[in-house]
Symmetry: C2
Subunit: 160 residues, 2 copies
Amino acid sequence: MRMNQGVEWAVHVLLALAWLDDGEPVSTARFAASYELPQAYLNKQLQALVRAGLLESVPGARGGFRLARPPEKITLMDVVMAIEGPEPAFQCTEIRRRGMGADAPESQFRVACAVNTSMQRAELAWRKSLASQTIADVRTEAELHAPAVAGMTRRAYGRD
Amino acid sequence: MRMNQGVEWAVHVLLALAWLDDGEPVSTARFAASYELPQAYLNKQLQALVRAGLLESVPGARGGFRLARPPEKITLMDVVMAIEGPEPAFQCTEIRRRGMGADAPESQFRVACAVNTSMQRAELAWRKSLASQTIADVRTEAELHAPAVAGMTRRAYGRD
DNA sequence: GTGCGAATACTCGGATACCGCGTGTCCGAGTAAGTGAGG
DNA sequence: CCTCACTTACTCGGACACGCGGTATCCGAGTATTCGCAC
């Protein structure tokens, strides 16, 4: 169960845009160069963020991507959902009602499978934590240990 | 990011063993028939539980698997770890220090990447929830809505 | 009837193929910027 | 000098291959049972 690495890329891209702050779009070429990532594949991942409404894409020369809403309004849950999709990691296939358990009375299956319930409970805790952390929070936490990172980012992306 | 379906199988197997309660081993053939699962592949998954110390295997005729410790001492975290492995779902590849950020002062990278920290925080919540739920808990929850399931299981596996 | 030994059937265990999804790449549509000529 | 149309270059966007890990299977090692025979 390994998470799509596009999630890591996406969060770093969103962070960079948050630090740049101005509404100017940044191209995938620049992002790819900034992190040594395959440009075309990174583009593919960012498209998912556009579809999810986290980024706006600007076509044409000097185009690129910019934040669709302020960093305070973008949670890590949004990012994970945009790239990984809405399906839960644990998917109950209802094996309890197959095989020998198939002829059990229907009333047994009215309520959800206890196994599924327990696993979903854990996933909900995960989701809650992701939803409680915004891009702005991550930015703040990063600046706590490396105050110069905002200026360095602006310089790396040709601002100032 | 889909979880190995062997996790679902494993929890159901452990639950069945908890309901049977006696120390008699149950073969994979019986489990596979009970849930309509591919026998050989189920066996492979249960081997992982043996390696993790959750099950004991009994070779030879009338052999099979039995619980290595009481259901109260087996958490869902144990099961997930046994099958999925110890690696976290989100793996930080430190892209912050590649490309343009490579020439940043070393002091910037002393503390962990904030992106990684945030994602691990969420995973920790997930792990905590998994670790707080034992097989015995799941059994209790299942019996709450379907009190007959214990007896049905014993009958399905030829007990009594 | 009882004890012993070999044959047997059944089980786990690891080594071996198959396949779908994440990973990576390429090319076309579209747009803004740049350029040059004409007024 | 200003305006405008054309060319150009750059960007996103989706369609097309590749490789790896999860999925599935098969066969061998080992053991408890069972059966038959001798005593």
